[in-house]
Symmetry: C3
Subunit: 356 residues, 3 copies
C-alpha cells in the first residue's frame, strides 16, 4: 500500500528507471506524494491539449484484469496504452478466463481452477503492468475496507498494479476528478465541494465516494459530505480526508441537510453508496435505503449553488440519482470528467513506466 509513496521518496532522481526498482503500485490516491500528484496532473493537461500517439512506451504491455463490468475504464485504459505505443489486453475473469481461488492453504476441489498465487506471478512475467478491477463482496467489512483483495494481488505481483476500482477505492477516477476540478475551479481556496449521497435501487460500493472525498480534500477545497443518517463513510477515510484538509487549511464537514450543503457550492459530486448496515443485513440496508428515495439531485437544488459544476463517475441512473434536466444543463461536467480518465491514465502509465 505504501510502495508508491516509498518508491517516490527513495528514487526521486529522474535517472532511475523502472527496471532498476521495485514495482510501484498505484492503489490509493492518498499514498501519492504531493509533488508526484501535481506532476501527473500537469502531464495529463499537456497530453489533453495535444492529443496524439507517441511511441514512448513501445513494447510495454498492460493486462486489464476485470472481475466486474466496465465501459469507461476498459476503454480509456486500452486507448491510453495504444496512444503511448504500448499494448493492453483485457481479461474478463470467469468469461473465457479460468475462475480464480483466493484463499490460502485451501484444498482446491471446487469451481476455481487456478489460484491467484499462481495466476498473478504468471501474469507478472507476461505484462509490464496489471490493472485490476475487483468490487467488494459485501460479506466482511474488515476485508472490504482494508481492500484486502487488491492488496493481495499487489503483494503477489512483481510488476506495478493499478487499481481500476477496488472494494474501497478508485484512484484513477479520483485522479480524473482532480483534473476536472482543477479545470473548472481554478483557485480552490475557500471554494465549496459537496459530495452528496443519492438514492439508487441497488446497494453500491463505497469505492467512488471514498475516492472522490480524497480527491476533493487534496484539491484544497472546503468539503461537505451530505448523506442521510446511516450512510456515513468509513471513519478512517474521513480521518484521512480531514488530515489533507487541515494541511491545506480547508474544512471538512458532514451534514444530512441537503439545502444547507448545496447553498453556495462550487462543485456537486453525486454518488450512491450502500449503508454499512449491509454487512449485518442485506434486507435492513435495502429498507433503510428505500427511505431516502427523495435524495435525487434536482435542478432546484442546483440553483442553490454558486453555478456549481455537476460531477458523477458514471454510469448514472437518470431520474433516480439526478434529474435528467441537470445532465442536459450547463451545470453538467460528467462527460468531461469521463474524458479526463483517458488523459490522467496516460500520464499515470508514463509515470509508472519511468517516462517522467
Amino acid at each position: 500500500m505504501l510502495d508508491f509513496a516509498l518508491r517516490a521518496i527513495v528514487y526521486s532522481s529522474a535517472l532511475i528507471r523502472h527496471s532498476d526498482c521495485m514495482p510501484q503500485h498505484f492503489l490509493h490516491l492518498a499514498d501519492v506524494p504531493e509533488g508526484t500528484l501535481y506532476q501527473l496532473l500537469d502531464m495529463a493537461q499537456r497530453l489533453k491539449r495535444n492529443r496524439k500517439r507517441e511511441q514512448v512506451a513501445e513494447g510495454k504491455s498492460i493486462g486489464l484484469l476485470f472481475f466486474n463490468a466496465s465501459l469507461r475504464t476498459r476503454t480509456s485504459m486500452d486507448i491510453a496504452a495504444y496512444e503511448l505505443g504500448a499494448h493492453a489486453l483485457t481479461l474478463d475473469v470467469g468469461k473465457g478466463v479460468w475462475p480464480l481461488e483466493w484463499q490460502d492453504s485451501v484444498i482446491m476441489d471446487g469451481i476455481a481452477a487456478e489460484h491467484i498465487r499462481d495466476a498473478i506471478p504468471v501474469l507478472s512475467r507476461y505484462f509490464h503492468a496489471l490493472g485490476v478491477r475487483i468490487f467488494p463482496r459485501f460479506k466482511n467489512y474488515e476485508e472490504d475496507s482494508t481492500d484486502w483483495a487488491i492488496h493481495r494481488i499487489a503483494e503477489l505481483s512483481s510488476i506495478p498494479v493499478i487499481n481500476l476500482e477496488s472494494a474501497f477505492d478508485h484512484p484513477c477516477q479520483a485522479l480524473g476528478d482532480l483534473m476536472t476540478i482543477r479545470e473548472h475551479v481554478v483557485i480552490p481556496r475557500k471554494k465549496k465541494f459537496v459530495l452528496t449521497w443519492a438514492y439508487h435501487p441497488r446497494a453500491l460500493p463505497m469505492s467512488v465516494p471514498n475516492a472522490a472525498l480524497i480527491a476533493a480534500a487534496r484539491s484544497g477545497m472546503d468539503v461537505v459530505v451530505a448523506r442521510p443518517e446511516g450512510f456515513e463513510l468509513d471513519e478512517r477515510i474521513m480521518e484521512q480526508a480531514r488530515s489533507f484538509c487541515e494541511r491545506l487549511g480547508s474544512r471538512l464537514e458532514e451534514t444530512s441537510d441537503r439545502t444547507e450543503a448545496f447553498e453556495g457550492a462550487h462543485v456537486i459530486y453525486a454518488k450512491s453508496w450502500a449503508s454499512r448496515l449491509i454487512y449485518e443485513s442485506v434486507d435492513e440496508e435495502a429498507r433503510l435505503r428505500e427511505m431516502y428515495r427523495d435524495w435525487i439531485v434536482t435542478m432546484d437544488l442546483m440553483k442553490l449553488t454558486d453555478k456549481a459544476i455537476f460531477m458523477h463517475c458514471l454510469p448514472i441512473r437518470r431520474g433516480v440519482v439526478v434529474e435528467e434536466a441537470v445532465l442536459e444543463s450547463p451545470f453538467a461536467r460528467h462527460i468531461e470528467q469521463a474524458e479526463n480518465r483517458l488523459h490522467v491514465q496516460k500520464a499515470l502509465l508514463r509515470w509508472i513506466w519511468g517516462d517522467r
Copy 2:
C-alpha cells in the same frame, strides 16, 4: 442520415480534414454520392491488390459496439484498423460492459445501468469513430424500418458512426457486395441480378436484403427480387432502389416464380428474411415461413443461370438456404465476398478519417 452526403458536397476539397468538420456518419449506402462511392470502391481495389500495413491513420481509435454476435464484421473491422496503423476495441454490450437504456425521460430503476445519452457522448471523447451493430427488436415496424436506434446513436455522437448492421440496413456489407459484383460482372449494363429469398428456421432481419437491393440497384444491373407472397420488402426501400435503377437505365422487378427469376441470371444473391407479419404475430409469421421450406437454392436452379456467381453475406445454413453442392461449386463467391469486407472497410476508414 444525410450527414454523409451533405458533408461530401460541402467539403469536397481534399484539403479539408476530419478535425475541421461535422461527423460524417456512414449509415446507409443510399446516402453516399456517386463520386464518393466509386472513389471508395477504387481505393478498396487498390488496397486489395497491394495488401499491407500503412500508418496512414496512426493514433486513431475506433470503438466497435456490438449489441449482437458477429464473426466477419468484428474481425474485418479490427484488422482494417490495424492495417491503417489505427486501433480497434470491441465492446460487447451486456457482456463485460453495462446494459444500456434507450428511452428518454425514463426513471432508470430497472436493469439498465447507463443511458445511451451518456454512454455515446463519453465514447465520442475516447474514440475517433464508432462502429455499431444493433439488430431489429421486431416489436415496432416504424421503429425498425426507420432505423431509429442507430440514428439515435448517430445523433448523440460527435464522432463518425459506421453502421455495422442495423435493423434495416447493412451498408458495409453492401459496399463489399458492390465490390464483388464489380469484380465478376465487369460490364453490368443488361446483366441480371437476382435477390432470392430463402427459407430459414429463424425469423431474420431485413437489413441484408435491403442493403443488397440498394447495392444491386447502384451497380447498374437489372434487378429481380424473387420472394414468396408475404415476404415483400419495404415499399420505401423498393422505391429507393427503383429510383437508382431508373437513373442508370436499368429495371427493377418482383416475382414469386424462381425459375423465371434464375433464368439467364448473372448474379444470384440468396438471403432469408422475416415476413412483415412478424410485427403482428410471431406465430403467424413462423407458420407462413414454414410453407416455403422448398425455397432453397439448388444446383438445378443455378444451372438455369448464365454462369451466375452465387453470393451470400454469411453465416449461411447449408442444406437449408442453399444446397451444399452450390457452395462447393465454381458458382460460389461467398468467401471472396466476405474477404472484400476487409478492403472496403479499410477504404471507408481512410475516407472517414480524411485520408482521400
Copy 3:
C-alpha cells in the same frame, strides 16, 4: 499433420518466404524436424535474453479461435504477436461469435448458425495465421485421439494453423516445456524425467500429458510415466515417444509405483488426465479416478528426487494435484515454465511467418 515437416524439408532455403509456399501448420511437436526444433529453441532463448518489441512481422494478423477457456495461452500469444509488430485478435466461439457446425452434408436447422467449411476459409482471407484451442468431446475415442477437429480446421485453412491445445496434443506447451527443461537440465543424457499422473476432481484431457511425453522424449532424457492402472496413455503416443527415445539412446518406462519413479529424478512433471474408461462410462471413470485421491505430489516425494524441478502446465489445483508447499519451494519451476510460453511462441510466429 505432416505439412509442417514436409514444408521444412522441401523449402529449407532461408530465401523462401511465406507467400511462396503452402501453409505450414504447427499441429504436433512430433512432426517438427530436429533441426527446426533446435532453431526454434535457440531463437526463443535469444528472445528471452533480450526481450523487446521488433517490427519483424508488421502487418501480420493472427486469429485466436478459442472453443475453451484460457489464461496463459491467450495472453502469451497476444503479447507474442504485439512484440513482433503483428496483431492478434481473440475470438471466443459461441460468445459474441456465432456457434459453429462441424458435420458435413448436414441440414443446418439447429443452433449452429455457421459451418466451419465457411468460417475457416473466410478467416483464412483475413488473418495470416490461426491459433485454435479445441478440447476433446470425450464421446468418441477415435475422433479425439486422431485430433479430428483441429485437423479438419487445418485442412480447411489456407493459412498456417497453430494448435493452442487440441483433444490430444498441446505442442506450444511442449515447446515451452522443452525450453524449461533445457534451462535447468543442461546435459540431459542419463537424467531422469518423470511424468506423474495426479488426482483431480474433474476428468481432464490427455493433451498435456501427451505433449509433455513427446517433449521429454525429444529432450534426450530417460522418461518414466507414473500412473495408476487404468490411466495408461494412448499406445500410439507411447510408441512415438519410445521411437524418439531410442533414436537418442534413452529409455522410456511405465510404472504405478511413485516412490520408485521419484527416486533420483531430475524433472517431475505433474498432470491429471482422465482414464480412457470415460469413453465407455463417465461414472465408471469418475469412480476409478476417486480411488487415487492420494496421487498428489508431496514434499516427501520431492525429497526422494535428485533436486528435481517441479513442472506443471497450469492451471493447477493446490492441495489436490500438489501440496502447496511444493509450489512455494525452490523445486517449483511452473512460473518460469509459463513464462517460456511467450518466448517459444514468439520464435514460432517468426518461423511460421518466414523470418528465420
